[in-house]
């Protein structure tokens, strides 16, 4: 009888969530509560690996230093794979010590399957999503502030019940109350925006939704986006995290093709072009396909951006080709428009675009399924997905409203630290547009359908993608850049291979990377408009 047996009689039971699927081995529920995923049946094996690692590390300060500073760590929640990756790092840098003490329980273990196949069973454990994560970042001492929030909730509730007359009268009361509250910061400012959004929903939804961000010209949207980019680090984080992952995915490839789902001013790409220029062995041929809305006034703004990027690429000796694809909506893009070549390594880059596909009522062949389907068929080396970390796509209005109030309160609070004008003011308008869409619009007009990471994991897993893990090097780079460029209070967190950026412990934006799962039944290949044959 091994030493462990007697000690485990009361211990590590099965997972606390009653999972309906009949998995042969449950995840240890107590370790799950500590943030780790280890199958109960694997505990002994993991313990042996930990022992082995400790033995290898002892007496080796050089090894420890190497593991700490040079090795890249991934997904610490998966203790088994983390320990194994450290062990293999050690084996690469030093031979096993010949005086390894005898560890009777140690067997020659079969190689652990490191591949990061999205284990749907483990994703289930994520399923009880923590909704309404809330960070109160402003002191809510003001009675007026508290009363405003109370009235906002009551108003939202009446809107949900269809009592628009009552809701309207509450708007008037709230606007009166606003005059007694400081609206330049804190709860007053947030309340101001939400009262405004509710007012529009009650009195003039058409002006928001069917003019909406459609009534704002693409040019206006670009300007607001650019100022949001400058005022706070969310988009910068998105760009450099995605670029780091794309750079790694392109390693060893001579022909690479980036497909950007929302080109805007192409702010993301100079850094990637420069990084590729500096690549050991020289830069690849880089093609960039930028998707964006058509310009109404006859300009070809996509092409203008492409020309500027081509200038930059030329100046650093990177062979570069650009193509613009004008489409009002992502679902209007067809894969043949992207002209992906058979020998290219493809990266698909989606920054806050996928959620816009969720608005359809149909469950079969919904836009998101269609788009994910053709992305998968392109067999990209990597798909980078950055999304708002929020649950703004719930069917109930109150739920959405409450979640948005929490989420945007935090985001506005983070913006307080910004002193740049007019960046800050325009960034607020950018955010206000999002708020209005979430609060005022319904059906196809509501495009800001943010969903949290757990839901995207499930959705992408079902669509045939598996996660590529973002590691400690990306984490460190993101943290360091934040320290350099942003106010204190922002924090990067690692969550099972993904990175989130948040303000004061509330994650606001999540970055993840994906790859298509090879599947014998639906072969991956280039889809062209002549046939669906696998081109490989």
């Amino acid at each position: 009888m091994s030493p462990y047996d007697s000690a485990t009689s009361s211990g590590g039971g099965s997972g606390s969530s009653a999972s309906s699927s009949a998995k042969p081995s449950e995840i240890d529920g107590l370790l799950a509560g500590a943030g780790y995923k280890v199958r109960s049946s694997d505990l002994r094996h993991v313990a042996q690996r930990l022992e082995r690692l400790e033995t290898a590390m002892v007496n080796s300060p050089v090894e420890i230093s190497h593991l700490a500073s040079d090795a890249v760590h991934y997904n610490p929640s998966d203790i088994a794979s983390w320990v194994d990756s450290l062990l293999s790092e050690l084996h690469q840098t030093a031979s096993m010590p010949s005086d390894l003490p005898d560890l009777p329980d140690l067997m020659v273990a079969p190689a652990i399957n490191h591949t990061v196949v999205s284990d749907a069973a483990w994703t289930d454990q994520d399923a009880p999503q923590q909704l309404n994560q809330f960070t109160v970042v402003t002191a809510m001492e003001e009675d007026s502030g508290i009363r405003l929030v109370h009235m906002l909730m009551t108003c939202a509730e009446s809107v949900q019940r269809g009592e628009l007359a009552f809701a309207g009268s509450l708007i008037e009361d709230m606007q009166a109350l606003l005059t007694r509250v400081n609206t330049s910061c804190g709860i007053g400012k947030v309340a101001d925006y939400f009262i405004d959004a509710l007012r529009r929903r009650i009195f003039s939804p058409q002006s928001v939704c069917f003019g909406g961000s459609g009534s704002a010209s693409p040019y206006e949207n670009e300007v607001l986006y650019h100022h949001f980019y400058e005022a706070c680090p969310y988009l910068k984080f998105a760009h450099f995290t995605a670029n780091q992952a794309i750079l790694e995915a392109f390693d060893g490839h001579d022909c690479v093709h980036v497909i950007d789902f929302n080109l805007m001013h192409g702010l993301q790409w100079p850094a990637l072009i420069q990084a590729l220029a500096l690549r050991p062995g020289g830069p690849p041929l880089l093609r960039l396909t930028g998707i964006g809305p058509p310009s109404p006034d006859g300009r070809d703004s996509l092409r203008e951006v492409g020309l500027r990027l081509a200038e930059l690429a030329r100046s650093v000796n990177v062979r570069f080709a650009f193509r613009g694809v004008a489409a009002l909506r992502l679902e209007d893009v067809k894969p043949w428009m992207l002209q992906v070549g058979p020998k290219e390594a493809v990266a698909v880059n989606s920054i806050m675009q996928l959620h816009r596909l969720l608005g359809s009522e149909s469950t079969r062949n919904s836009p998101v399924e269609v788009v994910l389907g053709w992305i998968r068929n392109l067999n990209p080396k990597i798909m980078t997905v950055i999304e708002q970390e929020a649950n703004h796509n719930q069917p109930g209005f109150m739920d959405r409203f409450t979640e948005a109030l929490y989420y945007y309160s935090t985001m506005f609070d983070s913006l307080e630290a910004c002193t740049l004008q007019p960046e800050k003011a325009l960034a607020e308008i950018y955010i206000q547009r999002e708020i209005c869409n979430v609060v005022c619009c319904e059906g196809l007009a509501r495009v800001e359908r943010h969903e949290p990471l757990g839901k995207w994991r499930a959705r992408l897993g079902q669509a045939g993608f598996r996660p590529l893990q973002l590691g400690s090097n990306a984490f460190k780079q993101a943290s360091m850049l934040l320290t350099l460029f942003s106010a204190e209070g922002y924090c990067v967190e690692e969550k099972e291979g993904c990175l989130t950026l948040g303000w004061h412990s509330r994650p606001l934006i999540a970055a993840s990377a994906w790859q298509a799962v090879p599947d014998a039944n639906s072969p991956l290949g280039i889809v062209n408009h002549h046939s669906n044959h696998n081109a490989l």
Partner: protein, 343 residues
């Protein structure tokens, strides 16, 4: 001689359940990577490896949580845990800071462990522990995200603890019976050390602390005590790592007689004759610093202060992180009695 050069893992395996062994060994290995010999700390890797959880305003098992900013200038955050009222599944912002009832509701200010360098208020292990404390003590728990060493040495952690105490004491919505906030201080490892020092500072103010709870508190001194020599390297902890953490926390050039480390040592403050809170001190029988912890208890006794020692023979560090051993339940019961005996 059991020193840091010898790996002796067999003994620790005998005394804790397997999942606890995996958890604490995992921490030990990770922490070995983070402490650099030159005294610096690999903070980026530490934050990457630490498992964190967000606050959750939706009650889970009867407890909901939210984060507050106590001091913007130092980015001092705390996570507040409250028991959910029955029949109130959906909470909105207004409820989070609703004043409590006329009954006594203890408010426990909690300082997480990590030897002054590791962990945060939103670390998963501490979020879980604080949630348990809410249920067991029917209390509100305020978990303080104090500044850590070596980037922030003494007295930053104590200053943050003091700031949190002042903040808690002045929240009208934390008041209960007799229109006052019923405050207890609790902490494990370095958090236990912070409890003592914040309580010491409180006696000089008009803020009343009703009780101190110290779980495996982190104390030390210049000498090597018998327990340190006997247990070095045997149960997850080494003398060498303890030395490193003190060196990282104490002001540069100081030794372990500094009162922060050794409150009843030659440089410590006299506690005789002052109104110090009653204390509950939990000592794990396999913790190598137990001689210092026992000396702390003796120091309180000699100063005429009320202290209860709970000595757990076969307990190691971190036994309270998972509810899979009888020490856990013993301690939780004691804490519950300690906090409710004032009602």
């Amino acid at each position: 001689m059991a020193g840091s050069n010898e790996v002796n893992l067999n003994e620790s395996k005998m005394v804790v359940p397997l999942n606890t062994w995996v958890l604490i060994s995992n921490f030990k290995l990770a922490y070995n990577l983070l402490r650099r010999p030159d005294g610096t700390f690999n903070r980026h890797l530490a934050e990457f490896l630490d498992r964190k959880v967000p606050a959750n305003a939706n009650p889970v098992d009867g407890v909901f949580s939210f984060d507050v900013i106590i001091d913007r200038s130092t980015s001092l955050l705390s996570r507040i845990y409250r028991p959910a009222q029955d029949g109130e599944p959906q909470l909105n912002i207004v409820d989070l800071e609703k004043p409590m009832t006329a009954e006594v509701v203890p408010v426990i200010i909690f300082f997480h462990g990590g030897s002054f360098a590791h962990s945060s208020a939103n670390s998963a292990i501490y979020d879980t522990l604080c949630r348990r404390l809410v249920g067991i003590c029917k209390a509100v728990v305020v978990s303080v995200n104090y500044r850590r060493a070596p980037e922030n040495r003494y007295p930053c952690a104590y200053d943050d603890g003091w700031g949190a105490l002042e903040w808690v004491n002045s929240r009208s919505w934390l008041k209960s019976k007799d229109s006052k906030v019923h405050i207890y201080l609790a902490g494990d490892s370095s958090g236990g050390n912070i409890v003592h020092h914040v309580a010491s500072r409180a006696v000089e103010s008009d803020i009343e602390v009703l009780g101190n709870i110290l779980l495996n508190p982190m104390f030390g001194g210049p000498e090597r005590t018998e327990s340190e020599k006997r247990l070095d390297g045997k149960y997850f902890v080494t003398i060498q790592d303890r030395d490193w953490y003190w060196k990282a926390f104490l002001p540069e050039g100081e030794d372990r007689d500094h009162p922060a480390c050794n409150p009843f040592g030659p440089r410590g403050k006299i506690l005789e004759g002052i109104k110090f809170p009653k204390s509950l001190v939990v000592v794990a029988g396999l913790d190598l610093v137990q001689d210092w912890q026992l000396a702390y208890v003796k120091g309180l006794e000699k100063a005429g202060q009320e202290v209860k020692l709970l000595y757990l023979d076969q307990a190691t560090i971190g036994f309270y992180l998972l509810p899979n051993n009888h020490h856990f339940y013993t301690v939780m019961g004691e804490i519950s009695n300690f906090v409710s005996s004032d009602c």
